[in-house]
Symmetry: C2
Subunit: 259 residues, 2 copies
């Protein structure tokens, strides 16, 4: 079956959505059948790939809460091999309803047990900027977790809590959850904090910090307006975001020992 | 009594904490006795002004949930006239415990009824990157709400939900809640998206968009490592962040018709 990867960091605005979107696209362009799952009620990933769902449209909320088959909501995207499982308006009530559900922490993993998901090679999950039941579901469903960290001081503070949460999930729910690594984002060598943060993280986490970094790039800020991946928006093999995410996909596959 | 302002936007990483920190400092430097309240369990504001609280130290959680007097937790800062009401570890359980509390939406407003708060001129509240009971408490306790929006595409998408939430709070809990305005942050004229976002917001919200913008400035990313405000970190009247937040304080006072 597919390799399930959660992209998580409760600090806001570190590049989680941008990573799921463009890493997903890079893997799809290499021929990996890739599913990207939007678990954030802000539905930013859904907006980047499609736009807002019509009001009342089924989405990941119904899949997690009502056990709707995930195949009901899968959407093709303008990138071959890249499929979206969208978030929608009903996600606003997901957290509170999930709190009372039986098997509330395994709901997503159970949803992924659908046989149709065997068609995928890789599943990437985008998480909201807080540690919640939805995030726990994502960690329980995942084999690995990748943590984007933007090159600034505040995002480093939250890593301790995130690691504590991962430890708890491992101890109580999912011993096989692995840390795939840390990804430096918004990397800007013009400013000193970038190398400071890089040094701190490589010192603390060693080889778990990806060699590939995602450089600061204004096009990431604009591409969502066009519902485009960075590959479509830059439309050039030499685009900075294009290069970064091609290298990121390559390094990810190496770390996973995938061809 | 003091003027209560909630700084809110559920999109992550738009500059909420940076705004509370440095707007608070700018008002304090002008002689306004200013209280900044950290309502985010990430406790970034607390870290910017002080550092992490010792484990088990009372914080806003005990004030909101257990009705501990807010005076128990007030901390002076290295800026005259600037006082911090910190967040701490116990905030992780605040949301879930608050859900069952009687008068759960007015808990913060009740905490602010403490006579000692009459000593302050302005109270700024920093919110977490999601719309929750804690954020509702902040909106119920506030007279005005200020919404930072970074000059990128995705942060604009969430404004609709934020405004819907504000409408609901007004309709059901607090009719006098006013929108103080929208603040453009991470403003960078070198990239096209900045003026695009500015035009969209000024078109949509008109004069409610502050004239003052907070420019992109790497020093904001570093200052928290030193537990300094931008005024301390730049240590120069001509510093970009210093100028921006002096102008921001000035415009805020004009909009509030305060001297
Ligand atoms: N490398 C980059 N260079 C410049 N801007 C970037 C980069 N990566 C992401 N951005 C922009 O920064 C903002 C935050 O990124 P993004 O929304 O992906 O973060 P997030 O962690 O998913 O945020 P949230 O916590 O709200 O879910 C977005 O406007 C995005 O377009
Ligand atoms: N004008 C600016 N220029 C450059 N960087 C900035 C600016 N304002 C804030 N930052 C940096 O951007 C990051 C996000 O800002 P901040 O943490 O204040 O946002 P937030 O909305 O409070 O985030 P969260 O949603 O996680 O609470 C921080 O690392 C901060 O130092
Ligand atoms: Mg996101
Ligand atoms: Mg913050």
């Amino acid at each position: 079956g597919p390799c399930y990867i959660a992209i998580a960091n409760q600090k806001g605005g570190v590049g989680k959505t941008t990573t799921v979107l463009n890493l997903g696209a890079a893997l799809a362009l290499r021929g990996y059948r890739t599913l990207v799952v939007d678990l954030d009620l802000q539905a930013n990933l859904t907006h980047c790939l499609h736009g807002l769902l019509p009001e009342g449209a089924p989405n990941m909320c119904e899949v997690i809460l009502d056990e709707a088959p995930i195949t009901d909501i899968l959407m093709p995207t303008s990138t071959d091999n890249l499929v979206l499982a969208p978030a929608g308006e009903s996600m606003a009530n997901l957290e509170i309803n999930l709190a009372a559900a039986i098997g509330r922490e395994q709901a997503l993993r159970n949803a992924f047990a659908h046989p149709a998901l065997q068609e995928f090679d890789i599943v990437l999950m985008d998480n909201p900027p807080y540690l919640s039941l939805v995030t726990i579901n994502s960690l329980v469903a995942a084999e690995h977790v990748l943590m984007p960290v933007s090159c600034e001081y505040l995002p480093m503070l939250g890593l301790k809590w995130l690691l504590k949460t991962i430890e708890r999930v491992r101890a109580r729910l999912h011993p096989d959850l692995g840390i795939l690594g840390y990804l430096l984002t918004m990397y800007d060598l013009r400013i000193g904090i970038t190398t400071e943060v890089e040094e701190i993280l490589r010192e603390q986490f060693g080889a778990a910090v990806f060699t590939t970094v995602v450089r600061i790039n204004a096009r990431h800020k604009s591409a969502p307006a066009e519902h485009q991946t960075i590959f479509q928006y830059e439309h050039s093999a030499r685009g900075r975001g294009t290069e970064d995410h091609i290298l990121l996909a390559q390094e990810l596959l190496q770390r996973l020992h995938l061809p």
